[in-house]
Structures are given as structure tokens and as C-alpha cells.
């Protein structure tokens, strides 16, 4: 696994009881085949706490001059309610397929970018990370854009549901119907990435 960047920060990816993200031994292929499977270490869902440093470290290499991460956190208020925690439910095999698809979409738009998407499942406490996206590229513009595009696409099409528990009740948060082929949604993600 590539841990150079993490090692250089002097921070351990296994501190704080976090789970180490294991990179597959074989090189990661970003080929155009639509049947390309999701890559363990790049596209993951787990009930274990997320380790942003290890995930970020998994996409870096000597050719990358920029590395961006997005960390989605559970916040303590939503829609005027005090939130207690969120249970995340996912269709895990489909979500891995979707994460790999988003990886291909990023590869088509920013060919130099390397992307990792990790999502938490199960109960996530206030202040904890529910999703981590890392994007590395030669230069910062592509790294920022790829990262923003990826989180927008995750929000649009990842089969993950938030069951929010607040003081006095609970609610399923439901947005739009997921449609990976919706061109308008793709354009929205691209506009946000490049604005």
C-alpha cells in the first residue's frame, strides 16, 4: 500500500482506534471497460470508523502534486432539530458498483486524477465522518474539481439512506430518485465541480 504521504505527515493511519485501509497489491487499472469491478481500498463501505489520512494516502503517488479530501461529518442540528445520531443504511454491493462508476466518470473528465470513496454504514455519532473522498492529481485545479464532482455524484446516486434520530423522534431523509443516467444531474455535478 502507498503510505508515503501519510508517513511524511508523521501521523499514523492506525491511531485513535481507526481501521487501516489496505491497498490491493496489484496495480489499480482505470480502464474504460464498463464492467470494471470496484476496487477494494478505493471503493469501500464499512461500519468501522473512517480514516481520512489512510484513504488520502491510498491515492497519492510521486506524480501527484495535489491531494484533496472531502470529509462529510454528522452534525448536531438539522431542520431545526437537535440530532442525536444517524444510522446509515446502504445497498452495499450496488454502492460499490456506483462508486466504481463515479471513479470512471472522474477518469473520463480528469484523466490524471486518482479517486477513493469510502462510506460509513450503521450508527454514526455526531462529529464523526460518514463519508470520505480523496482525489489526487498532478495539479490542484483537477484535484479540487474531481473531489467536488465525486461528492456531488455520491449524493445523487449512491444507494445510501440516512435514518436521522433527533430529540423526540426519527426520520428517513429522502431526496431525489437516483438515476445514474440522468444527464441533468451529471451537468449539475460538473457545474458545481468547476464553479
Amino acid at each position: 500500500m502507498r503510505r508515503d504521504w501519510v508517513a511524511a505527515t508523521g501521523l499514523s493511519g492506525t491511531s485513535g482506534g481507526y481501521t487501516e485501509i489496505v491497498e490491493p497489491a496489484e496495480p489499480v487499472s482505470q480502464g474504460p471497460a464498463s464492467t470494471e469491478p470496484s476496487v477494494p481500498g478505493r471503493h469501500a463501505l464499512s461500519p468501522d470508523p473512517l480514516d481520512p489520512l489512510a484513504i488520502a494516502g491510498s491515492v497519492t503517488s510521486d506524480a501527484k502534486g495535489a491531494l484533496t479530501t472531502f470529509i462529510g461529518l454528522v452534525r448536531d442540528r438539522n431542520a431545526g432539530q437537535r440530532v442525536r445520531w444517524i444510522d446509515y443504511e446502504a445497498h452495499v454491493p450496488l454502492a460499490r458498483t456506483v462508486f466504481a462508476r463515479i471513479g470512471r466518470e472522474v477518469g473520463e473528465r480528469w484523466p490524471e486524477a486518482e479517486l477513493a470513496i469510502h462510506h460509513r454504514t450503521g450508527r454514526v455519532a455526531i462529529g464523526e465522518a460518514s463519508v470520505v473522498i480523496a482525489a489526487a492529481s498532478a495539479h490542484r485545479a483537477d484535484a479540487f474539481a474531481a473531489c467536488r464532482f465525486a461528492i456531488e455524484r455520491v449524493k445523487q446516486i449512491a444507494p445510501v439512506w440516512k435514518h436521522e434520530y433527533f430529540e423526540g423522534g426519527e426520520v428517513w431523509i429522502e431526496g431525489a430518485t437516483a438515476d445514474p443516467d440522468d444527464e441533468a444531474a451529471l451537468r449539475t455535478a460538473m457545474e458545481r465541480a468547476c464553479s
Binding site: H91, T97, P159, G175, A176, T177
Partner: protein
């Protein structure tokens, strides 16, 4: 044909089941599988216009033909989508 139906999030709660088997005539589509599931769990009917479907862990159209042994998942609107709505219950 025999297919496995999987229900997620609010759909799972409404049906009280995460998984069930359906015997469908040949040929059948994802739409036919949904209709059979709603027939068994009428509470799901209100979701008919806002769900997505997946067959064997990939998104699928409602016109997609099914084959014996397929796993068909029905998915309520995902949490991150635009036009966010809250559906309070048990409050």
C-alpha cells in the same frame, strides 16, 4: 421464474421485510416484480413514482427483463439527492 426482492430503508420498514421471494411468469420485467411486491405489501404503493431499481447490484430500468434467480432491489429516494424531503413518522 423465482426472483429475490430486496427492500431498503423506508420501503423495508413499510413492508416489515428486507427480503422476500417472488414467483413471476415468463417473461417478466422489473416493473412486474414491483407490481407483485406492491400487491403483497400495499403500503409500498405510494412510492411507485419515486423509486429506483437495481438488478444484481447494478441500477436497472423498469423495462429490464428478468431471468430466473435474479436479485431485484427497490430503492427509495437516496438521502443526498436534490429536493430533500423529510418524512416524519413515529414522532
Amino acid at each position: 421464474m423465482l426472483v429475490t426482492i430486496r427492500l431498503f430503508a423506508r420501503l423495508r420498514e413499510l413492508a416489515g421485510r428486507a427480503e422476500l421471494s417472488q414467483v413471476l411468469p415468463e417473461p417478466s420485467t422489473v416493473r412486474n416484480a414491483w407490481d407483485a411486491t406492491v400487491n403483497e405489501f400495499p403500503a409500498l404503493a405510494a412510492y411507485g413514482s419515486s423509486i429506483s431499481a437495481a438488478v444484481n447490484a447494478d441500477y436497472a430500468r423498469f423495462t429490464e427483463q428478468l431471468k430466473d434467480g435474479d436479485e431485484v432491489a427497490f430503492l427509495p429516494p437516496v438521502s443526498g439527492g436534490e429536493g430533500r424531503a423529510r418524512r416524519p413518522h413515529h414522532v
